[in-house]
């Protein structure tokens, strides 16, 4: 049943679930919600499984008209809340602040054709459904039985320095470079998307600047290209690459990395 009409898609709104893990050796990125905790929180509030398909809005959320009653949750950097939207009502998600992304979860989930087992849009490779466009209409699945859901809760992890585990190529940084990495504030540049986030700050001093033979990459990897300006990889990252990875953000802190918006200042801790 066609239940949700997109009146305004916003600058970038995609469908996301938990992505396509397990296919990296075939060149398929993991994709999936960059703040998987917010996705799970929102889905939990409406009685869905944690990885049900939701909308991931970027910076500014969409405006949606509902053609039938639906239990909806908005989940972002600060927490999640749920409410009932009546048939004919318009939900205007508005600015995603603080943070960069808000998840729109509906009881029953959005019905989207999966590609390689996932409904996630991968912006690097184009796998999955295209980003939302004005005028799109989508179906919602049957609402789950669990009706006694919480109304709202606050995020448990406060924003702060990201925990960075050194390696595999931390030997590419000099002692001074390592010092700079952990003491400098880093500003999120405008080159920030689901593939990666370029960080502006002092140049990281390296022991050598040549590339490595290509090796596997993970979400949260901090790459240092020859320019010395680090790039933090997010879920749509390429599966292999030759820029040295000097450290990897702890998996508990990946949701925070997924909420970085251009202009934010971030730091790293050991």
């Amino acid at each position: 049943m066609n239940a949700v009409e997109v009146l305004a898609a916003g600058p970038l709104t995609t469908f996301q679930d938990l992505g396509r893990p397990g296919l990296a050796h075939l060149g398929v990125p993991p994709s999936g919600a960059v703040d998987a905790r917010a996705l799970a929180d929102g889905n939990r509030l409406v009685g869905n499984p944690a990885g049900a398909t939701a909308l991931e809005a970027t910076l500014v959320g969409p405006r949606l008209r509902f053609r039938r009653d639906a239990l909806v949750a908005l989940a972002g950097a600060e927490g999640a809340r749920s409410f009932l939207v009546r048939a004919g009502e318009v939900l205007d998600v508005g600015a995603c602040r603080p943070g960069a992304r808000v998840y729109v979860c509906v009881a029953g989930g959005f019905v989207v054709q999966p590609v390689l087992g996932s409904t996630s849009t991968d912006l690097l490779t184009g796998l999955g459904p295209p980003p939302l466009r004005d005028g799109d209409v989508f179906a919602i699945g049957p609402a789950p039985a669990a009706a006694s859901v919480q109304r709202a809760f606050t995020a448990t992890a406060p924003a702060g320095p990201l925990r960075l585990l050194l390696g595999p190529r931390d030997d590419r940084l000099t002692q001074a470079g390592l010092e700079t990495l952990f003491t400098s504030p880093w500003r999120v540049s405008t080159a920030a998307d689901r593939v990666g986030v370029r960080l502006d700050g002092p140049r990281l001093e390296t022991t050598r600047s040549d590339e490595l033979p290509s090796e596997g990459l993970v979400t949260g990897a901090l790459q240092v290209p020859p320019s010395g300006r680090p790039i933090l990889l997010l879920n749509d990252h390429p599966t292999t690459g030759g820029y040295p990875v000097v450290g990897v953000v702890h998996s508990d802190d990946l949701p925070l990395a997924g909420q970085l918006r251009p202009g934010d200042v971030v730091s790293f801790r050991r």
Partner: protein, 201 residues
């Protein structure tokens, strides 16, 4: 052959560093078969990335077993891929190498290649085992659009572009084969360790 070196990749990953691609492929196949707690096993040029429930002792033990077996060899699939050698860079490659175009084609089609690893795009396989006399650098200015099915070379690698994309490799020819199809299982035609021969049309 020296032992694998284990490097940390965050709290859920480890990178095994090996002597060469042959060792990396043997270790990757072993990890995939023996350690079900791993979500991803990703060979690189001479590394293997393991992601999931990583246990350092189990990883090193499995790697040592794989390296110790002289006559290992998982079942590699072999492909013969028909190629029309009419690539836009064939003449330039011949000129760079001081060969004529027919010689470039003959030397590119002679060896049996091994899929070393994938990356860059879904289904994009890096092939090793080519004639060392055919090594050319990437283009100084990458093309904005390389057609799907293009067979190309750069450095020690050959490749086939699974779909049209930007690219800096030198184009020798093209194939009709679909290298990647999300509707197919597995979606990528070529997997790490597979063997490839090119047959000129």
């Amino acid at each position: 052959m020296s032992a694998a070196k284990l490097l940390p990749v965050g709290d859920r990953g480890r990178l095994l560093e090996l002597d060469d691609n042959r060792a990396a492929l043997a270790v990757a196949a072993r990890l995939r078969a023996e350690l079900p707690g791993l979500v991803d096993v990703v060979p690189g040029h001479r590394t293997v990335l393991a992601v999931g429930d990583v246990d350092d002792h189990a990883l090193l033990a499995a790697a040592a077993d794989a390296l110790a077996e002289q006559d290992e060899r998982r079942e590699a699939t072999s492909f013969e891929i028909s190629v029309l050698y009419d690539g836009a860079d064939l003449a330039e490659v011949a000129r760079l190498l001081g060969l004529d175009a027919d010689e470039v084609v003959a030397r590119h089609a002679a060896p049996t290649y091994t899929v070393a690893f994938l990356g860059f795009a879904p289904g994009f396989a890096y092939l090793l085992g080519g004639d060392p006399g055919l090594e050319v650098p990437r283009l100084a200015d990458p093309r904005e659009r390389v057609p799907a099915g293009s067979v190309a070379i750069a450095g020690p690698y050959s490749c086939i572009y699974p779909r049209s994309s930007p690219g800096g490799w030198r184009l020798l020819g093209r194939t009709e084969l679909r290298l990647f199809d999300a509707e197919r299982l597995p979606p990528a035609l070529l997997a790490p360790g597979d063997r490839v021969r090119f047959v000129p049309l």
